[in-house]
């Protein structure tokens, strides 16, 4: 039998602000009992989670390469210092980067694509398919054709 750790898992929960963050809040009950580090792009969201650990990253996307680099550097530092067992992201670009980085440190990784993507996967989800252990999609029809998993939705 595989050796199991007795301590509680360390989770890095990474999301952009807006809808991505609202969806992270909706899945956060699943983290109960774990040590959770929330990472998002909006400092004002800190009061919404009863977490001991709250970090911010700069908002970036594929059209802002400099910001993306700054974001990646902060994420490297966060992953290296937090050493999460599991990384969960609800998007977008920052979440994908966190997953890519966390893989190098041996963490389990899961990307949950936004429920906003009812017809096709987001670019972050498509990129995550190549690196994440699990990519979940919130629409069964999209999951069927993209090699992602459907395990229900946030609503």
């Amino acid at each position: 039998m595989r050796e199991e750790k007795q301590s509680r898992p360390v989770v890095l929960a990474v999301s952009s602000s807006g809808g991505h963050w609202v969806q992270m809040l909706r899945v956060s009950p699943a983290f109960r009992g774990a040590e959770v580090h929330y990472v998002t792009t909006d400092r004002s969201a800190a009061h919404q989670v009863k977490a001991d650990h709250f970090h911010t990253i700069i908002d970036a996307n594929k059209d802002t390469p400099i910001r993306l680099t700054i974001c990646a550097l902060k994420l490297i530092w966060l992953v290296a210092s937090v050493r999460p067992d599991a990384v969960v992201s609800t998007g977008a670009a920052g979440g994908y980067l966190a997953i890519r980085i966390a893989r190098l440190f041996g963490a389990r990784t899961m990307f949950i694509d936004s429920i906003a993507n009812a017809r096709e996967l987001s670019m972050s989800a498509r990129l995550s398919l190549k690196v994440a252990d699990r990519v979940l999609c919130q629409w069964p029809r999209v999951a069927e054709t993209t090699g992602t998993e459907y395990r229900g939705a946030v609503i």
Binding site: S17, G18, R26, F31, A86, N117, A118, L136, R151, V154
Partner: protein
Amino acid sequence: MIFATIGTQLPFDRMLASLDTWAARNSSLPIVAQVGATSRRFQHLQTVTAIPQSEFRHYMQAARLVVAHAGMGTILSAAELGKPLIIMPRLAKFGEHRNDHQQHTSHEMSRLSHVTVVANGEELHMALDRVVARGFATPPKMATEADACAPLLEALREFVWASHSVPAHTARRPVRSST
């Protein structure tokens, strides 16, 4: 109070301009609008550029009606609070978003009891008139709870605890949150 929000990213003047026109002939109804980074002025709206999360929640709670772009953050928040919601999807052809996924979102979300989808300014005016005529009737409470649906939470919980033995007190029932 009617609360209008266009989210945290690109401007969405098409929706706001239409709302402003409507507000001009419905001046007894105050409208607070989060307008984002726009250079336009909306004479009949009380505007804020960007707002912190706590204030966003405050406006959402205070509103009798929410008018918004088809962003999932707003749609989910309105569902949680049981607020009637009118959404107008952003369109890529007007440079309002990178793609047309908001149209797809709107199409799927139009099934929710609290959501009315409008395609353009004219439809927005009609939808607003209807809501006012109905006296801002609140939609029946959503069937959703505050939490995400159970299968997704279960999948996530399993994933998080995959290499750890689940402590006895969390194995069968959710732990009380440490308030």
